[in-house]
Structure formats: structure tokens, C-alpha cells
Symmetry: C2
Subunit: 344 residues, 2 copies
Amino acid sequence: MSKATLDHVAQRAGVSMKTVSRVVNREPNVRESTKTKVEAAIAELHYRPNPSARNLASRHAHIIGLIYDDPSAYEVPSAGYVVNMQQGALHACRKSHYELLIHPCDYRKGNIDGEIEEIIEYARPAGIVLAAPLSDMPRIVRAIEKTSTPMIRLSPGKPRANELCVVTNDREISAEMTRYLISLGHSKIAYITGHRSHKAVANRFEGYKDAMRQSGLKVSERLVVAGDNSFGSGEIAAEKLLSRKQRPTAIFAANDDMAAGVIRVANRFGIEVPTELSIAGFDDVALARLVFPNLTTIRQPLSAMAELAAAMLIEGRNGKKDKKTIQIVPSSLKIRESTGPAPD
Amino acid sequence: MSKATLDHVAQRAGVSMKTVSRVVNREPNVRESTKTKVEAAIAELHYRPNPSARNLASRHAHIIGLIYDDPSAYEVPSAGYVVNMQQGALHACRKSHYELLIHPCDYRKGNIDGEIEEIIEYARPAGIVLAAPLSDMPRIVRAIEKTSTPMIRLSPGKPRANELCVVTNDREISAEMTRYLISLGHSKIAYITGHRSHKAVANRFEGYKDAMRQSGLKVSERLVVAGDNSFGSGEIAAEKLLSRKQRPTAIFAANDDMAAGVIRVANRFGIEVPTELSIAGFDDVALARLVFPNLTTIRQPLSAMAELAAAMLIEGRNGKKDKKTIQIVPSSLKIRESTGPAPD
DNA sequence: GTGAAAGCGCTAACAC
DNA sequence: GTGTTAGCGCTTTCAC
């Protein structure tokens, strides 16, 4: 029950409110000795600044909004994805005594843009972190822009000029995974693409093609099958690929859910993984360590990306402006048990 | 950019600030005609109340805190669990223009109680929803009580007298699942218990025993194996149960992760599910529909529970006090493919 | 380096 | 039914 106010602290320390305020907010121009005195008073009175008073007086809420696709609606993206982003954003917010306003939303709903505008207008966050795949949806991006709240998009397909955004190296790391498969002796490496609307996932496909070409392997149409990021679409794609006479010796899926679907089909078909077929995914969701064999995949630094985005928004408010608009946080390969040397 | 204030609206509508305030807050004692006038002015000026000003003047933050075990730390509980609770709490908060403050925390950390106190003292939420299994940890419960913030515990093992809490019918629904297995002709029904510290999970075991006894089946020690809610512990328990000559024809695990572990072991042992072995879980996490065969399980109304808890806290602030202290939101059976008639 | 005064936009407590 | 007044606990601005 912290009832102490700035005023109480000021009286106790024998200084003015403004001086206490300076100490609390780490502003310069306070003599070391007064600072110590004030800090002692704060501790004695167990003073805690009142965020509402602070927000009101400073004319802006210390709030960062995090907007993402609602995982409880369709379980895509997976809940783990969301929880990781929250953790990162939360971390950045706590450091600066900001609050995190989370807003899961179902983009399939009719008036989703109106809903987002409402939320922003009511809560008045200092900035918005917009997660993929929403970060590529013009309707949603426009709704946020309409409120003229600073925004940082996570993993947009194509960053725009002068826009702050945080991305990972989807393309490069996918090329690296492909090269890893090639180094194991695979040459018939199939690829299962992700959902059309998720642009960052499309970059993964580019990386696969880069590596294939660089290694002198041709990207046959027969090696590429379309999926939609769901487990089921991974199964269907796998059935198509694995029922051919000339089947691939490795399958790289644009995300883990689809890769898990491939594993299931391989089991059903009696194809041994990884001796007869190598399988790789992307995302490193919890599922990757629950399937058998454990999935080789790519770990996205979701937490770090969200933390960086939130921190940038908070610093932006404090006047610091980065030159770099596109921040890249690299993903990394997680080699597990589902990949191995090519047969023969 | 909503810059309109109560004052502007009042002038525009030709009434006093207080009257506008009444309309905004749906207070009584406003003539229908003035109300219409005020609402028109609000719409014209695109007025949005400033939450900070409101919080400051009313001397309390319109914030509900949701505290839960951090899923990104150990993936237990699963992220889906957390996301569902968030959704429910968020729903209740939005309705009343409250904010939701989420606080995932790792209870294994040393000063977790201090951390929780800090967060509460800074944010000053009007109430706290404390999720299981934290709701059974005395250190955490005490830390929250120390701040004298109203709290509602979700699924506490044993509710205390006069305490508000929200629970589900763990025991009864577990008995029902057991009866369902018995009705399929099973009599050697094994049970895998959950983590010791999670009291609500212990109630599930009681339900299993209730049903066994009621049906005249004895609860042999050989049928009960201890797990710790993890996938791995389910595997170990299954190995123990299924390597016996007289093996059970059904296994009921206290949660889905362990049940999924049982399925994996059954596959490895070449035991067909559900023809040779029926398997049931509890929770209905996403995994339940990803394993093969799909898991028969019990769906907990997590979202509804969290929503109810948040709504109770908000109403509590508004003076309404429920007589009922223990609110029960029932779980339900989800019969899928992993259970079937007993062999022979 | 430090302080005094004004006011952020609302609600509470009354008066009418 | 409606209006008036006095703050809530801070930051801002500017004076010293």
C-alpha cells in the first residue's frame, strides 16, 4: 500500500518536488549529495511513482502495444510464437517502466481495422509492435497509421523506405539450411512453401532456391509443393512428394508444423527418418522436440526481435533516433535428429 | 489523434463536464434528450476518455493483473494454456475498459515474490488473477496478499474459507472419463499422476479412484505410476506399464503431454492404439490433435475461467459482492481416436 | 543545481 | 437532473 507521493518524499528529504522528480527520472543536474538524500527518503517511505499521474502530466501513456494474430482462434501461428514475442516485449517494457498492451486479433474478422483503431485510440500507446503475418496486411497497417502512432513491423515481407522494422535473415538462413542438406549428399531436395499471405515465409523459399542454384542443382517444379503453414497441408504435400517413384531424399518445409506433418506421413509410409528421408523445418516451436525423431529446424529469435522493437519505440519517444531503419536479428540452425546423410 | 476533452464535449453539447461524465460512464440521472445531445457531441468531436486522467482522479488504476507460470522458461504449462487464459481475461477487461497486465514468471527463481510485489506496487492493479500452479504456492500467494490487492485464484487445490476463486470440476470429470473407459469394457485402467506441486491435478487422481471404486474395480498400486506433467515422464511411465506381462488395456494420464508420451511408447512397442490400448489425457492442448491417433482428452474451459475471474474482480471494485465464493466452470470430455473398446 | 506555480483531464462530493 | 468546485500526483515551464 504505497501512499507516499512525490510531495511526501520532497518534505522528508527537505527538497522540492521537482528535485525528487529529477532523481526518480534520472535526469541530470542533481548534486550527488542531494540525490543520496532523496533516495534515502524514497526508500524510507517506500515511495512508488503513480503511473497515471505521470502519464497525465506528461501527456503520453507509457504503454507499448503488441498486436498479433490470435492463436486461440486457429492455432496458427502457434501459441509458442506469441508467448515468445510477449516475453521479449515485456522485458523491454519493464526496463523502462512501460506497460505492455497485448492485442491478439483475428484478421479474418470483418471490422478488424476498426477494432484496432478503437483499442489504440482508447489506450493511446506510445508505440505499436506489429507481428507477422499481420505486418504484411495493408488493411491493418493502414488502420494503425491512421492513428499516427509510431509503429515497428516485425518481419515485413518488404520493408519500406525510411521505415523502422525488425527482421530476421529468413532468406540467408534458409539458404544455409539447404546448403547443409546438400553437404549431407542430398540433391533431390524438395521444398514445401508456406501460406501465400505471409511474405517473410516467401523469403525462405528464395533462400532455398539461392542455395540450390549456387550448388548447381536445378529447382525442378516437381520438387516444390505448396502448403499453407498448417500441419494438415504438410501431410498432403508429403503424400504427393513421397508417393512418386522418384521421391526426394530430403524435404525442407517452410515451417515446423508442416515438417511435423511430413514426419507423420513418412511414418505411415514406412519410410525411415533420417536414413531414408531427411526432414527440416523452420521456427523451432515446442512441437519440434516432441515429434520423433526430433526435428532439425531453424530457431527464430522472436523474443529478441520483439524486445528490440519495443526498445526502439521507447527510445524513439525519448528523442533518440537510429539511423539504421532495418534491424536484423539473425536466426540459427538447430540440427537435431530428422536430418542425416543421403541414402546410397 | 483524439485531442478532445470532457470540457470540449461539454461546451459543444451545452452542458457541464459532470453531465458528460455521467453519460460516458453510463451513470443514471440523465434525461434521455440530454444524453442524446451529449452522445452527438462525443461522436462529432471523436472524443475518447483519457484513461490516465480517469485513473488519477478516481484513485485507482483500471488494470487487472494476470500472473502465470512462464511458459517460455520450460514450456510447462504449454503456451496454449497461457494464451487461452489471456484471451478470457482480455475479454472481460475490454468490456469494462480495463487494461490487462500480464506477468509470466518463473517460480523457480529466487526472488520471485519480491518481483511480484514490485510489479504490483508499480502498476497498482485493481485485482490479480493468479493461475495454477502458482495459485497453490504459498510464497507467491503471500507476496500478493502483502500488497492487499484483491486476488482470485484459478484452480487452487483447496479453496480457503471466504475466498473468491474459480475452479473446474477436475475430480468429477476425471471420474467421468474413467467411467467412459469402464463402459468400453476396460477394467485394467492404469493412471499416470501429475506433478506433486500442482494440487488441482491431484484432484484428477481422486476422480479416477472414485470411479474405479464405484464400479467395483480395485485401484491396484501396480496400476498407478507417478509422472511430473512432462512428455518425458509420460514415456517413462508408459515403458514401465507396458513392459509388464499383464499390461493395462487403458491408460489415463493426468495431462496431455504425458498421454502423448504414452502414445509414442505404444508406437515404439508396436502396440496398436486404440485396438490394443486406449489412451486418455487431460487439457486438450494443441498437441492432442497433432499426435496420431488424435487424443481423447478433457477440455478445460480456461478462457471462460479467466474471464469469469477478471469479471468478478472488476465487479468487486464496483461494489457488487457475490455470495458464492467458489465459482465452478465445468470441463467436458473430448472423445477422439485414442480410445476404443477393450480387446478380447 | 534547485524551486514555485500552473495545469494535464478527469472524478468526488456536494450544492442546487 | 444538473452544475460547481476542488483536487488526484505528477511534469512542464521558467525563474532564480
